[in-house]
Subunit: 347 residues, 2 copies
């Protein structure tokens, strides 16, 4: 029997609740589909930081490297550790070290879920650059604490980084409805974003079957709300993708439904799967977090591992659950009840 | 009779159509309220660039400085001049040179307008930093054209710049419902955005009557769609404000309804009033642009000049118009018909 080695990083807050739920669903899906998951859980988190002074051990990245995939809950608990420390100590280094340059986030309404928009028929796949750009972490502060203080933050875009994410976007569009929206802000940021636009334009010649359109981030944010059905694949920089995918989560009914995959397309290191939502300390461990985003992320993990039949069955089980009104209304059903429903739909 | 000197910058595309409309409404409002507007129109635009090699003459800023206010239509016509050139040659330098550091954009549904959200009861005032940050224009490209090319774009935030926009936000919140949302991305951008958060926190002690909450930009984008009624005043950096105000325009029914004011709060130079929408070359001069955003921006100009009674009457006339179903559905009514309705509602 094929066994996949999975690293679990429950992280903080509801990250733990939803990872637990996703694990049980994925294990059952595996058992029913002739493979198994060998999971190892690591307690790296803000609590770990308070005890050890770092978000993960020095060999954390090397430890994770031997796995087939990583399933992550959520990282961050601002009252314990500043987000700027916790995220730069765990989530962001993994994305970078494992060259998970494509962050994929699907946005559509699950059956039975009512979104905030009047419009209900959209199916958007956001592709976010995940390793550089506005998240480069380059910058500094001078004259600190004085009236003359200046803070600078530098976005760094490399041709390699931009080209590979755009190619990934073109490929995804080709495999879907053939439409790619590339998002920049080249009317205001004339170095980084003009660079991105130029590469988009040059690559478009190689993908004549894909219809590519460039949008400014402000116009795209408006479009996702006014005309989401006009969009197919959306590709954007690290920051713009971050913003658009929370917006995507919103129009699909909330963060409880937003799944994501941090993909290393070359498979030179493990990919990581995580719900878009954060750790939500206020509702941590109350048993009320919606596990659907985490389970959906788990289905994306199975698909990435090549277990597409099992992945499809998990998605069908999620859809059967929300269609029955379970987990479909934010905040109403308990984590356990939703998980139980998905589990039984797998039978 | 009091006379205000107004510089008109119709700019490009529908900017010309809507500025014309706004001018006629403002002139009538002035006449009915005992003051007059002495308007001078300047043809600075992409066409001007094609003839003269620059978006405005060398003494453009000095020419504008003598006016009491500026009414701008829209700038940009990408097929004639790249946006990165046209905007950096006209719109952005005015905002910076005249220290119009507060860009104010109100988001609420006009009567008779149906927005894309199920939710209809929101009244948000976005305050956008307008002179620095992500729009600093600092950056460059190395190894241009090669595989090793790198583009950098540096956001520059000064204590003075951040403090003054936050203070402005606190004051606006104080004058409204007492709630201020400050928007950053300090979990990923640990220099600029952590700096902003620190200043927000420090200033909050001076405004104990204002309830201030910090949000990440991604969470705020989601909130504007999921729970817009929970927001009062939102203050954000140049880029984040840009994105959030297009989103605000979307939830208020479209860019045809989104007004804005670029304010120099110290009145050391003229302020500038402009609709949020762009030049929309595809519908330029067809007589179909919705002038409501431009007229509303004009009302904000009258209020800034101290003519609050006239400003109120213009707003009432706009509301009477949309309430009658004129101009309330994007793309349906002609510019002239909407303008005529607002004009007659001023009687
Ligand atoms: C927690 C934060 C650093 C992270 C990000 O901005 O990438 C999150 O918002 C996400 O979208 O995965
Ligand atoms: C045209 C563009 C440079 C401008 C901006 O980003 O400031 C516009 O989008 C706006 O919001 O006024």
């Amino acid at each position: 029997m094929k066994t996949y080695k999975i690293a679990l990083l429950p992280g903080d807050g509801i990250g733990r609740d939803v990872t637990e739920a996703a694990k049980s669903v994925l294990e059952k899906a595996a058992a029913r589909n002739g493979f198994s998951l060998a999971t190892t859980s690591y307690p790296w988190s803000c609590d770990y930081f308070l005890e050890n002074g770092s978000m993960m051990p020095g060999n954390g990245i090397e430890t994770l490297r031997s796995f087939d995939a990583i399933l992550l809950g959520a990282v961050g608990w601002p009252r314990k550790v500043p987000d700027s420390v916790s995220l730069h100590g765990l989530l962001l280094p993994i994305r970078k070290a494992f060259v998970q340059y494509a962050n994929i986030r699907p946005h559509r309404l699950l059956p039975g879920v009512q979104g905030p928009l009047r419009s209900e028929n959209f199916d958007i796949l956001c592709i976010r650059e995940n390793t550089e750009g506005e998240y480069s972490g380059a910058g500094g502060r001078v004259h600190q604490g004085t009236d003359s203080e200046v803070a600078v933050e530098t976005s760094i875009f490399t041709r390699k980084g931009v080209e590979r994410i755009l190619r990934f976007g073109f490929e995804q569009a080709r495999a879907r409805r053939g439409k790619l929206a590339s998002v920049t802000k080249s009317n205001a940021q004339k170095y980084s974003m003009v660079f991105w636009d130029e590469i988009t334009e040059r690559l478009s010649a190689e993908y004549p079957d894909v219809e590519v359109t460039s949008y400014h981030i402000d116009a795209m944010a408006a479009r996702m709300v006014m005309a989401p059905e006009s969009l197919d694949v959306v590709v954007a920089s690290n920051l713009f993708g971050d913003i658009l995918t929370d917006l995507g989560a919103a129009i699909q009914g909330g963060l409880g439904f937003a799944a994501s995959a941090n993909i290393n397309p070359d498979r030179s290191a493990p990919s990581m799967f995580e719900p878009v939502h954060g750790s939500a300390p206020d509702i941590a461990h109350l048993g009320v977090a919606n596990p659907i985003a985490a389970i959906w992320s788990g289905a994306m993990m199975l698909a990435h591992l090549g277990e597409t039949a099992a992945a499809g069955k998990v998605m069908t089980a999620i859809e059967a659950t929300t269609a029955r009104g379970i987990g479909s209304i934010p905040g109403r059903d308990k984590t356990d009840a939703i998980t139980a429903s998905v589990l039984s739909a797998l039978d």
